[in-house]
């Protein structure tokens, strides 16, 4: 018997053990859940292949929704800089209806749930978080608006290519078919690109690149800056650690376009693809760092002892806001009592905790710099909140129920 046959036999024997009977309560729970769940028609299927919904029906539906959206915009006005508080949504899941248009200044979030890969969603006027890119499928992460609000960059892996690494794409506020931005990413030198952020003038894009694949795994993670005119990328910073997951990330530009802030996790617990089975210890220290857009003048802004990640530079350039590391968010969920939102000057002075927690994460500045958006767990709800840069005036923007994790709220700059 070969070694392979031997292990196969062992595994088969081992798998035979264990329960084979579904607990009866599953039937009751499912019956209750589907009573509230409408069946999906054929929205996920191409029109040509499965014409269950006639084109005229779609036209009527889209027209009606467009009129409804126009009415909603007219009724709502432009008002405050963030969408007004809405009652808690029972679930941020889509209903299968066509998505209403994202209006100016509305908020996009990243949603992770147990059924699907991460998905970029926008907060609709009725408080639901609806898919921005329902046809893209796959995995959608790390979205960032272009400063004029007309484009949204994100990292994605299309649903029709399950084994692909993520690359950068660009869409718009209406979720138009994404355009590939990773035009200078070819293996083995470049494996995956994530965490895009547009420069203030929209001509460049900074991103995190996993580089130099060996034995199927990248060996480095680096920051690159894309020239969006030529499509060429330039490496500006190396994590300088043996490749591991989430060690360098969330780069954001200074408003003058000369520097970039990012976070660094030192000694992450495990390599990529093993992230879900980390050793039973927290990741190592994390810090916020700043580097010149040309790769010069790199230096640490926060101390190692301060759990820090997901930085964002204020529109006036005077402050950097940051939260806990996104690695913690992935590993442990949004329930860490010591999670807080802080600001610090780019020179490392003036550390100020503006939201003492608990459970606060993934901050971002609104385009006018008047508020910081962040996510905070509150009982069974996850709430998008806004706070003034000095920590005053915390207010709810939208709230979500359910098990899904809502993170990274970012407000569309007004075009």
């Amino acid at each position: 018997m070969t070694a392979d046959q031997q292990i196969s036999l062992l595994i088969e024997e081992w798998l035979e053990d264990g329960p084979v009977q579904m607990p009866e309560r599953v039937v009751d729970v499912v019956a209750a859940r589907i009573a509230r769940q409408r069946q999906r028609w054929s929205w996920r299927v191409g029109w040509g292949r499965s014409p269950r919904v006639e084109p005229w029906m779609a036209f009527v539906a889209v027209t009606a929704l467009t009129l409804a959206a126009i009415w909603a915009i007219a009724a709502g006005g432009r008002g405050p800089s963030v969408v007004p508080p809405v009652p808690p949504s029972t679930s941020p899941s889509p209903t299968g209806s066509p998505s209403p248009t994202v209006t100016s200044g509305q908020i996009v979030v990243e949603l992770a749930n147990t059924n699907i890969d991460n998905q970029i969603r926008f907060v609709a006027s009725d408080g639901r978080a609806l898919p921005l890119l329902p046809d893209f499928g796959g995995h959608q992460r790390t979205a960032a608006w272009r400063p004029d609000g007309r484009r949204l960059a994100f990292a994605g892996r299309p649903g029709n290519n399950q084994d692909a690494w993520m690359h950068l794409y660009e869409t718009d506020a209406q979720g138009s078919p994404p355009r590939l931005l990773s035009t200078d990413c070819v293996q083995p030198a470049c494996v995956e690109e994530t965490d895009p952020a547009y420069s203030p003038d929209g001509s460049r894009l900074v991103a995190v690149r996993l580089a130099d694949i060996r034995d199927g795994h990248p060996t480095r993670s680096v920051l690159v800056v894309y020239d969006l005119v030529t499509g060429r990328a330039t490496e500006i910073a190396n994590s300088s650690f043996a490749y591991a997951s989430f060690d360098i990330g969330h780069p954001r530009w200074s408003p003058d376009g000369r520097r970039i802030v990012f976070h660094l996790v030192k000694d992450p617990p495990t390599e990529r693809r093993r992230l879900i089975f980390p050793e039973p210890r927290p990741p190592g220290p994390s810090s916020i760092e700043v580097i010149g857009a040309d790769g010069s003048g790199r230096r640490q802004v926060t101390s190692d002892g301060f759990d820090s990640g997901d930085p964002d530079w204020s529109p006036d350039g005077s402050l950097i806001v940051f939260g806990p590391t996104s690695l913690h968010l992935w590993l442990y969920g949004l329930d860490q009592s010591d999670w807080r939102i802080s600001t610090i000057h780019p020179d490392g002075t003036g550390l100020n905790v503006i939201v003492a927690g608990p459970n606060a994460a993934t901050p971002s500045w609104t385009a006018n710099g008047a508020s910081v958006l962040f996510i905070q767990a509150s009982g069974s709800l996850q709430v998008i909140r806004a706070v003034a840069p000095d920590g005053s005036g915390v207010r709810d923007v939208a709230a979500f129920g359910g098990k899904d994790i809502v993170m990274y709220p970012i407000q569309q700059p007004t075009p």
């Binding site: 595994i11 579904m22 992770a112 590993l331």
Partner: protein, 184 residues
């Protein structure tokens, strides 16, 4: 089978009670599959609930009611993969869960082996776990797994190879430990 087909067709027409009957009729085998991927009764139950709700929602996209089982295997597997991928808090304190029910067959798979297989299995990627369970428990061929999961056959083969290698390495390590302990 004919009864299941009739239930699938009725459920596709929106008959909720038919779908509930279908769950009663077929749920055990999907639960068994979910448990073997997640190695935890509660998580398997959660995953199965989610998979069944997704199945209800998307049932009209199933063109051949006779393929319900295979289709459900895909839904359950994908939900389990997603759940394992998104697993957060519990992964911080991994522990080996004892297999439930009568142990049996210990003359072939020793308790030590069982522990090591548990540990090694939990260190596989969710996708590799899916391949292991579909192949060694549900009895799918590699081509059938590829078709079910919508992944190239070569990828399935490499996932299975890697999973076998990892589990074999775990057993070898255990054997070395035992033999070292004996000689000490």
């Amino acid at each position: 089978m004919d009864r299941d087909r009739a239930l699938v067709e009725a459920a596709q027409r929106g008959d909720q009670s038919a779908f509930v009957d279908l769950v009663r009729s077929t749920g055990d085998r999907f639960f068994a599959l979910a448990y073997r991927m997640l190695r935890d009764v509660d998580r398997a139950e959660d995953a199965l609930q989610d998979a069944l709700v997704i199945a209800w929602r998307d049932l009209r996209t199933l063109r051949d009611p006779d393929r319900f089982d295979a289709w459900m295997h895909r839904v359950v597997t994908n939900v389990c993969i997603s759940q394992a991928t998104r697993e957060r808090r519990r992964t911080a304190n991994l522990r080996v869960l004892p297999a439930e029910g009568p142990a049996g067959r210990d003359d072939f798979v020793s308790l030590g082996d069982r522990d090591q297989l548990d540990r090694a299995f939990k260190r596989l990627t969710p996708e590799e776990r899916g391949v292991i369970v579909l192949h060694h428990y549900a009895g799918y061929s590699l081509a059938e797994i590829a078709e079910t999961l919508g992944v190239p056959a070569g990828t399935i083969r490499s996932r299975l190879h890697h999973a076998h290698r990892a589990m074999r390495a775990a057993l070898d390590a255990e054997a070395r430990q035992v033999s070292g302990g004996r000689s000490a």
